[in-house]
Symmetry: C2
Amino acid sequence: MTFTGLSCPLPVTTTDQVLLGHGSGGKLSAELVHDIFLPAFRNPILAELNDQAVLSINGSRLAFTTDSFVVKPLFFRGGDIGSLAVHGTINDLAMGGAKPLFLGAAFIIEEGLPMETLRKVAASLGRAATACGVQVVTGDTKVVEKGSGDGLFINTSGLGLVYPGVSPSASQARPNDVVILSGYVGDHGIAIMAEREGVEFDTPVASDSAPLHTLVASMLNVSCEIRCMRDPTRGGLSSSLNEIAQQSHVGISIEEAAIPIREEVRGACEMLGLDPLYVANEGKMIAIVDPSVADDLVAAMQRHPVGREARRIGVVTQANPGWVTMRTPFGTTRVVDMLPGDQLPRIC
Amino acid sequence: MTFTGLSCPLPVTTTDQVLLGHGSGGKLSAELVHDIFLPAFRNPILAELNDQAVLSINGSRLAFTTDSFVVKPLFFRGGDIGSLAVHGTINDLAMGGAKPLFLGAAFIIEEGLPMETLRKVAASLGRAATACGVQVVTGDTKVVEKGSGDGLFINTSGLGLVYPGVSPSASQARPNDVVILSGYVGDHGIAIMAEREGVEFDTPVASDSAPLHTLVASMLNVSCEIRCMRDPTRGGLSSSLNEIAQQSHVGISIEEAAIPIREEVRGACEMLGLDPLYVANEGKMIAIVDPSVADDLVAAMQRHPVGREARRIGVVTQANPGWVTMRTPFGTTRVVDMLPGDQLPRIC
């Protein structure tokens, strides 16, 4: 992750306190980034608002990213805070066209956390890192008093090497580019929600938490004409597409019927009053690609275990710059806005 | 920071819950590292237990580190959590012989934090980074519910380029090496304690929070025969020296009379029942250096604003491997052990 958000001028922060919605990945998060963090840390790399910084050091292009994880509960169907902390950071590096190499892991533990819980989470984090071919090379532990934390928070920072000839960025989408989505949306958010609220489904929903770096590598093997990659985590598909539309000054038009949503996720969303386009994913990606290579890229993605359901879901347009619109199965068109606040707090 | 700690085998963790003392930087912290984190993340870079990982990427030697800050209160005499988060990570890079280049900053905010507090901290973090010549290139924000955090926690990760010909490590101290300390110890811990407990001194104690990278650069200008550098933060001078003695399998003998402690810090420690050798510092360093260059290095340090009080405080010995001993002004010798638990929680 980095401080992602809209690139247009926004009104200054309108609340005098930080709200849960400021962590949503939606409009309030973007306000915080534009009103507080960008002015405080002003520099051109941060201002790109990508999921990772790309740095030139001694002639090498390195991707660098940081992300904290405060997911509640710590264990859920399909993963836990340890594996999630690896996948989230691996994916931020992968979205920058980088091969992930090294992780840092920092633990903020609430006094009284069962040692067995910490041991399980650390083991899961270590296993996930090994499975991704990266090493946890640096770490830190802090302990806060009971009542000053909530069990366990983990920060992972990541370092990767950007593949030669590749420089995807949220600012590079061009009219006529094709929008590709790698698979079903909404699984992670609904899995967490179900766990947290004790909701049971006939077919249980598992988080899609998964690393995307080998999928990206197999895509880059086919073509480097990938303008932009994003993993739609907090704020869901809609927020990621809105960020790209804003930062590239283009419109994005998607087809509702093309977006794959599991029946059980759709049902859960209806029951809970959620829109699946705003629900977090942890193992999915959007790619904005040159139309000439779109078919080959979709085919390559479908051959990869985490891209089997990959498909085109829309196109980039000259019309409606800064806006995402969606054609419904009934032929009508609606605006897909960014969420103002938070649908589901502490999803990652 | 990285998972620092003793390198000798330790008993497995003896408590079934995480205690405040596990975050102390002392023996309990080392237990956690050896019992949980090293087995989970097993790799040779992490196993070096330095304050930073040194990575070879495309022929460049990069230093990489991560550190979370949970200091309470957020503002204190001499600094705040924002400037501390910069100095802490800059110093971990500097102790690896690296020129700091880039930072990541991740904020975990408790719902309800005044926006003005966040703005002040971010501005301070940005100013400190600029003053150190580094850029905050990536970031993240999470918000947790009221009661699930404590105002604000910050993680900073850092990336630097290791100077050519330099590879200091806690495992490289050799008998007859000289132990140099850069200045007064105990200031940071006592400043935080005073602020937290509302204690007032005739001469107020300010935190020594300061970046050490230019001091290190001026030392390396004189000689690369620096075996090991450490900033004695959590756990104080005693913990850092014990870690070096253990990891290098040498003894360290220091002179009590040579260790500079401000009168007001000594007084506060007496009043509060603390030992200044265990109190945290945030702008001090220990260097273990070849005896042939010790005088020149001390002189170079004394010419630098943050090293004016630099001096020899002891020597590395073949005798007593793994132990730190101290000669008192009365001619007696005592063992300076690592602290088992925590003197002052949430000091950084």
